[in-house]
Assembly symmetry: C2
Homo-oligomer: 240 residues x 2
């Protein structure tokens, strides 16, 4: 058995990903549940090969979890407190990966995993419909959680999500990255509801529509007849 080969990874450096998705008015985060007696929730993460760029490592980790490889992602912060140690791993060594005990753990050259880690935070924006969440080797399940009601995550991972959301908010208007969270085509109302979910505040419909159209990045397509008893909205597509 060889879960991780220490020779190939940069030690004490990891990547953790906040994967944002959007559905039905809620901004969501993909959270795996780790297979242990006491359920543990953790951001999807991984390590960097010694001959791999950190961006490629993040893309690889994301593809492993989502099956998507042309994902929007951005490095946003490094979490490097001196006490960033995976105590949950230490406390659960015997259960970790098929009841391996401390001795076997060391024999397998896995001791480096119990050291202090510096973690590079990435956040990703995905069309939630395109994602086929895959479990990691140690996971029991993977689920989407509303960013406003996440479970307690290990270490400082809740703080990592918080900071990712702050960065997303700062970048949303400037970089026009929000459309990565929507399907190929969408209505203006869907864009507005997405923005309202991200900023957690309402926008005025008339002015929001003007602001988005003035960006000059949307292409208006045919109307979308929903069957509702009202004027049918246009569909739009993000271009460029």
């Amino acid at each position: 058995m060889k879960l991780f080969d220490e020779k190939n990874f940069i030690h004490q450096l990891s990547i953790d990903c906040v994967i944002f998705g959007y559905k039905a008015g809620e901004l969501k985060v993909l959270i795996p549940k780790i297979l242990l007696k006491k359920p543990l929730y953790s951001l999807p993460g991984g390590f960097i090969y010694v001959d791999e760029s950190i961006d490629k490592a993040a893309l690889r980790i994301l593809e492993e979890r989502t099956g998507i490889n042309d994902i929007y992602l951005e490095q946003y912060y490094v979490f490097g407190n001196e006490n960033r140690i995976n105590n949950d791993l230490l406390n659960n060594l015997e259960e970790f990966s098929q009841q391996m005990n401390q001795l076997e753990f060391e024999e397998n050259g896995l001791n480096w995993l119990t050291n202090r880690f510096v973690s590079i935070g990435y956040y990703a924006l995905v069309d939630i419909n395109k994602v086929n969440p895959k479990m990691g080797e140690m996971d029991e399940s993977v689920d989407w959680y509303n960013v406003k009601s996440l479970p307690k995550l290990i270490m400082d991972h809740n703080e990592m999500v918080e900071k990712a959301l702050e960065t997303l908010r700062r970048n949303l208007d400037e970089k026009l990255i929000g459309f990565n969270l929507l399907p190929e085509t969408f209505t203006m109302r869907e864009v507005q509801e997405l923005y309202e979910a991200i900023y957690d505040k309402p926008f005025a419909r008339n002015n929001f529509q003007k602001k988005i159209l003035d960006l000059d990045v949307l292409e208006r397509l045919e109307k979308k007849f929903t069957g509702a008893a009202n004027k049918a909205p246009y569909l739009y597509r993000f271009r460029r």
Copy 2:
């Protein structure tokens, strides 16, 4: 001789600092010159102890170079291309640190320095008058260079400065951090010239003054009589 003790540092992870200062209308960066036959310019950098937070490591490195310990600094980006290897070091092994050769280098357990490195970029803002630039163990000199005319630096360090400047510009208005570059008291003209140096563009004097005063973070002190044949400007101090 023991320059670096590999046991105590996190391997393949480094910190590099872009130290900004301001003088006479010019935004400057502190650049050490490394002691080798061919002169090499490099950002001041260092490594992280295994029991040290990355922020503390950055502060320690900055204090070593500037003598200041209450410095404003901010982590801004991680540079992690797979080819970030210090070729200049590799090519100059025999000169590196008192003519150490490849064999001695290995015997001293310094081989880890020739691996690929991931570097966390920090930028710092200092009052240039308070700084007493100190040379590192391998430096021949340390000098302030105008950010617009830097020498060719090793590896991707020029790119690191460029990205630090972009981040400084993005944060300047939002976080009001520019005053860290000025002495305790200053005139409005000096603030404006600082902003003009950072953004590399002129501002209208009347509106600039209004904008800065409207921030409500400056305290107006006595007038500054310069001896010039014109109205004496007020001195201001940044508060909070």
